[in-house]
Amino acid sequence: MSSRMGSQTTATVTPLRRIASHWGILLLLTSVLLLMGASGDTTGQRFDRLGHNLMCTCGCSQILLECNHVGCAVSEQMRKELKDALATGQSDDVILAGFVTKYGPTVLSAPTTTGFNRVAWIMPVVIFVAAVGGLVWVVRIWQRRSRMQLAAAPPLGAGGAGEELDEFRRRAREETEL
């Protein structure tokens, strides 16, 4: 019985492994392509990117470049400051640090990756890994139990097999109706 199940498992896993390896290659290729493409961008693109990393401080709680506050003097001024900083040739980090010094940490539109702010980024990943890992682990346990139950069950074909088969057919119909 166990050897039969063993061979079944192998038969199921092999194409999956193949698929997984294909995905792995695809992922690797993609990463390489992404790294190759990570080149410097124009001032306009930098303005757009950095402008989306900053918040308008007028109290509207919106991204600097998306502040829809009609006649907002604050966002106008901040955009000008960003343009001036870009014109001086400063790096992104220096520009953002300058804004933080002037307007405080809430001017950044996302938490940094330093200090306690790291927790903001780490937690969703931890939860994701724990949830998926936990799920795979639980499913494996269920699989093992169900195999053990199957092995312990009396063989089909004894008395009442017809009724049993009818019951299985009824269940199959019900379960696959969806």
Partner: protein
């Protein structure tokens, strides 16, 4: 009249207390007559709250500024539709509106008591408890009939200009119908747990109610998104604002439930999981309401800070404690009949789908609350805005999209590698070809991560579409072949119609999936947007993409409610005039606030979106901001598919009458057992 409103609210509160107390005693004493009085009191709540709501609307239409609420949210020149919308424009009014919707749901629940008298009696007690809380709120801390202190002004402060749009007349009711609608499945689920309900009837009832709530919530979210796009004038439709996030949380858990409930209905699995999904959906609805009304987090469109936060915290704690108590007490009733047998099966795809939806819900909740946590731990606040939510949620959404393609084609219990290959070979090839086509069209996914995400989104969407279409076509062909020779019934389209009618839920679900991918294609367009801003004098030109905008003129207007300025812009494409657009800015007199009226030209490929951002004070020339937003049309089209698909899924199957009668007979046989108690 205001006194009548206050009195009605008090009567409503008294009736809800009675419905709760008498309903509870009727269950304990098994007293049908007392139970009937509780049910009628529950119906009475509807009339009391309807009367209070009618009084508030009447006061808005009659400019009764002796009421502080009307003074702050209306004015004489406000158009009628917006005076009606004033009911849900402020804290107190919207809570009253919430009470009214809850009373409506309560009314339907109690009128349909014959569906299962004992289950409804229990559910009615639970809903009465929720009604007590909300009626307490409008009677004490958020009274909509509070009087204006001192002399009564001649005119009101007016409605917030951002709310004076047709979308805002229907968006909040839809959203509230969704939020409040999640109360009913919660009541049925808790009732079933309390009474250890035998059989699965309760889960069918709960699923249908959840689908109704989910439908309204989806409508509300899309309408809110459409409003943000057409009104706020920033060129986007989703800003990951705490208020938006609050609506997304119960939607995500509700979506998870609508998938995992199938495992309980078909295989008797995941009972504990489903119970907690329903509990979580309701708790998150209430939590979202708390977030937007307590001032805990700052938001673009939250209600003003108020003192109702602690009430919500206490209510949430009580509800959570009740859920935990009854779960621990009756946990044995929720044991699974089957276990999962394979990682590659329909069941496990549902499980992974659920896990991903819950991780997404966690990420949204975490990001929304992190500023509060950060302030609490480090002493200073940080901002958690769109960059965070996009980085965390886009990969999760892509995984979900992959599961949307894979899940429906997997077999229950176990799927073989051969079956996987057979089902996915053609859709997989089509999907890969779509990726090649995108690269051929000039998309370079390796240049920027946003291009990469967009390409993957479109490829996965094509994969889902191929699998959905192949399911319809294969099923339709089988039926068409079966009906060969019967006049007009032997064609594939009739076959597909019959296929859908025989299993509305399954094929309605496929239409929903199709809507989701259409929407996702719309989201993918965000990577390719363009924008520019320019001051335009007479005859000046502004170029964006393949459009040229020429300023023909600008005008001014004065209306009782507002004054306005607008630019008249001729739109050229390839040298040929194709349209004239009128971006506008209004100045609302009562509130003294300006607002923009976006001019939008929408096609399947892109939206040309123009905003009048102001004018140069020196020369009076208008400053126009132009956005070119690709594929936005697809977002709203996808929403239509989702709604139609959900409605299809709510319609009973064509040929299930015979089966239903047999099932009903079996369930009816089980009712005396239920009546017999635990």
């Amino acid at each position: 009249m205001p006194q009548l409103g206050s009195f009605s609210l008090l009567v409503g509160l008294a009736l809800s207390v009675y419905a709760f107390g008498a309903g509870l005693l009727a269950i304990f004493w098994d007293d049908d007559r007392l139970g009937e009085t509780a049910r009628r009191a529950g119906i009475g709540i509807f009339w009391a709250v309807t009367s209070a709501s009618a009084v508030l609307v009447w006061a808005a239409f009659h400019n009764d500024f002796s009421l502080a609420y009307i003074l702050h949210h209306s004015n004489r020149a406000l158009p009628g539709a917006y005076k009606f919308a004033a009911l849900w424009s402020g804290q107190e009014g919207s809570l009253l509106f919430w009470c009214w919707l809850l009373a409506c749901y309560g009314l339907v629940l109690r009128l349909r008591y014959k569906v299962d008298t004992r289950l409804v009696a229990h559910a009615s007690v639970v809903i009465s408890a929720v009604q007590i809380f909300f009626l307490l709120l409008v009677n004490v801390p958020a009274h909509p009939f509070a009087m204006t202190p001192g002399a009564i002004p001649a005119d009101g402060n007016g409605l917030n200009p951002l709310l004076q749009y047709p979308e805002m007349v229907i968006h909040p009711p839809m959203l509230y119908l969704g939020y409040v609608g999640m109360t009913v499945p919660f009541c049925f689920a808790l009732a079933a747990l309390i009474m250890r309900y035998p059989g699965e009837k309760w889960i069918h009832i709960t699923r249908r109610w959840t689908m109704v709530g989910w439908l309204f919530l989806t409508c509300g979210i899309f309408l809110g998104s459409y409003w943000a796009y057409r009104v706020l004038g920033w060129g986007g439709w989703w800003g990951w604002d705490p208020v938006e996030n609050a609506s997304l949380l119960p939607w995500l858990t509700g979506t998870a439930f609508l998938h995992s409930v199938m495992m309980q209905e078909k295989r008797g699995m995941m009972k504990v999981w489903n119970m907690w999904l329903i509990f979580s959906t309701f708790l998150l609805s209430i939590f979202g309401t708390f977030l937007t009304r307590s001032g805990v987090v700052s938001s673009v469109h939250a209600f003003a800070e108020s003192n109702i936060g602690p009430y919500f915290v206490i209510f949430l704690a009580i509800i959570f404690a009740a859920c935990v108590f009854f779960f621990v007490k009756n946990r044995s009733h929720l044991e699974s009949e089957h276990k999962l047998e394979s990682l590659v099966s329909r069941e496990s795809s549902f499980l992974f789908n659920n896990v991903l939806l819950l991780v997404a819900a966690f990420a949204v909740l975490w990001g929304t609350l992190f500023p509060v946590l950060s302030e609490w731990v480090t002493g200073h606040k940080v901002t958690v805005g769109p960059p965070f939510f996009n980085k965390v949620n886009i990969p999760i959404a892509l995984f979900l999209l992959l599961l949307t393609a894979v899940g429906p084609l997997l077999a229950w219990r176990k799927t073989s590698g051969e079956s996987l290959r057979r089902n996915f070979l053609v859709p997989g090839i089509i999907s890969l070809l779509s990726g090649v086509a995108l690269v051929a069209m000039g998309v370079r996914p390796w240049e920027d991560v946003s291009y990469f995400y967009s390409t993957v989104t479109i490829m996965l969407s094509v994969l889902v579409a191929s699998t959905v279409v192949s399911e319809f076509v294969r099923g339709g062909l089988v039926i068409a072949r079966h009906n060969q020779g019967i006049a007009w019934q032997g064609n594939i389209f009739y076959g597909m119609y019959i296929l859908t009618r025989r299993n509305m839920r399954r094929y309605g679900g496929y239409v929903v999936h199709f809507g989701v991918i259409v929407t996702m294609i719309g989201f993918a367009g965000v990577a390719f947007y363009q924008n520019t801003e320019k001051e335009l004098g007479f005859g000046d030109k502004l170029e964006i993409g393949h459009y040229t905008l020429v300023c023909r003129s600008y005008t001014q207007d004065d209306k009782p409610n507002y004054s306005s300025e607008r630019a008249i812009l001729d739109i050229y494409r390839n040298g040929k005039q194709i349209d004239t657009m009128y971006p506008e800015q209004r100045f609302y007199k009562a509130s003294g606030q300006p607002a923009t009226m976006v001019a939008n030209r929408s096609t399947m490929l892109e939206d040309l979106y123009l905003v009048y951002t102001g004018k140069n004070p020196e020369n009076g020339h208008p400053i126009i901001k132009a956005h070119l937003n690709p594929l936005v049309w697809w977002i709203w089209s996808g929403a239509h598919f989702i709604l139609v698909g959900t409605l299809i899924a709510l319609i009973p199957n064509l040929q299930s009458k015979k089966k239903k009668t047999a099932r009903e007979a079996a369930l009816e046989a089980a009712v005396p057992v239920a009546a017999g108690g635990d």
